[in-house]
């Protein structure tokens, strides 16, 4: 004979476990646990973002002159979009989305300002405040071909 309190307790336990299972079914998000302790669909969410940087090759066809000059001199390792910003909108609609044309001496100084942390063999540095301060850099150096 099973004592009555055990029967009653079993019913209570059965209800608790049942409620837990139902709640779990309702509250667990779709695709949770398919690949691990996370929503597998979150992988797709993370992939669902437009690429903004298109690479140097994407400019070639429309800007032959700049591409050619750029490739022929010491700035050839600099990506176009590093100076001009992300081009995804410009590439598909160049007339309505303009890229920045960087201006000012401070722009070149980001790379060329004398700094003890900059490896001298990788980048030639100037004390910008002393290097022809009365002009803009691009009046003497073509940004695409600095030694033109």
């Amino acid at each position: 004979m099973i004592p009555p309190q055990i029967t009653r307790l079993s019913i209570v336990f059965a209800i608790i476990i049942g409620v837990f299972l139902v709640l779990r079914l309702i509250l667990t998000p779709v695709s949770f646990g398919e690949k691990g302790h996370y929503r597998a669909l979150a992988l797709i969410d993370n992939m669902d973002h437009e690429m903004h940087y298109m690479g140097n090759e994407s400019c070639q066809n429309c800007h032959e002159l700049e591409t050619e000059m750029h490739a022929s001199d010491l700035h050839s390792d600099l990506p176009c979009e590093g100076c001009h910003g992300p081009a995804y909108l410009h590439n598909s609609k160049p007339d309505s989305f303009h890229l920045v044309k960087p201006e000012g001496r401070q722009f070149c100084a980001k790379c060329h300002e004398q700094n003890a942390a900059r490896p001298g063999d990788l980048i030639n540095q100037k004390i910008i405040a002393e290097h022809n301060p009365e002009y803009q850099c691009i009046e003497c150096h073509n940004p695409h071909k600095p030694w033109e």
Binding site: R39, N46, D77, E81, G82, C111, I123
Partner: protein, 255 residues
Amino acid sequence: MGVKKTKTDRREFLEKLAIIAGGVIAVSIVKPFGSILFAAVKRPETGPWYGMGINISKCIGCGNCVKACKSENDIPNEPFFFRTWVEQYTIKNDETVVVESPNGGMDGFSQSVPDEEIFRSFFVPKLCNQCAHSPCVQVCPVGATFESPEGVVLVDSKYCLGCRYCIQACPYGTRFINPVTNVVDKCTLCYHRIMNGQSTACALVCPTGARIFGDINDEEGELHAFLKENITHVLKAHLNTGSKVYYKDLSPNVH
């Protein structure tokens, strides 16, 4: 009488001890402890396993990567939260270390310590270390941050509660609350780009190739070669986070 009682007690005690010890051994054989399993997770033998190499002696501190990361991932320029940023370390002759990162390095650096006081100075780009045993993943109460099958630590922004546990847990300080979405944000290693066969935005715009994005499992790949040809270190190796951002020429002063 008292003597007899002690005897049965001792036998019972020994029996219980044997049961507990046997139980522990049985459990460890049947199902190894979670933590042991976790630390033993190996990278997959097939498929990509992404990481990044950083060549500190090639970094010129131009901040292109910081800017590109913000634009690529639509992170607002201000307030100053960064998925990747650059720090300038300056070790002075008196052995004190100055660490600077004005605006995360986004607008370049200007040297603040005069030349004659400098012993050595260098730039250190930082980003999420894409740990294989991430402390941030372990603490998330809802499974909203996880390691993808490719070894990239991602955030599920739809399920993140914004509880900030992971921000505290990250030993590298790479997580923040995105001021627009109000949930946690971090470097995704440009998941949307790399899964389409492109490089990350930061590596793309680097003028000197100081950042090398790649697949560690790809034996012909650039990152594999970088790791093979150079001596590299990871940040905070003693924490055993399984970091996959490998620094060449890392100075022990960097934390």
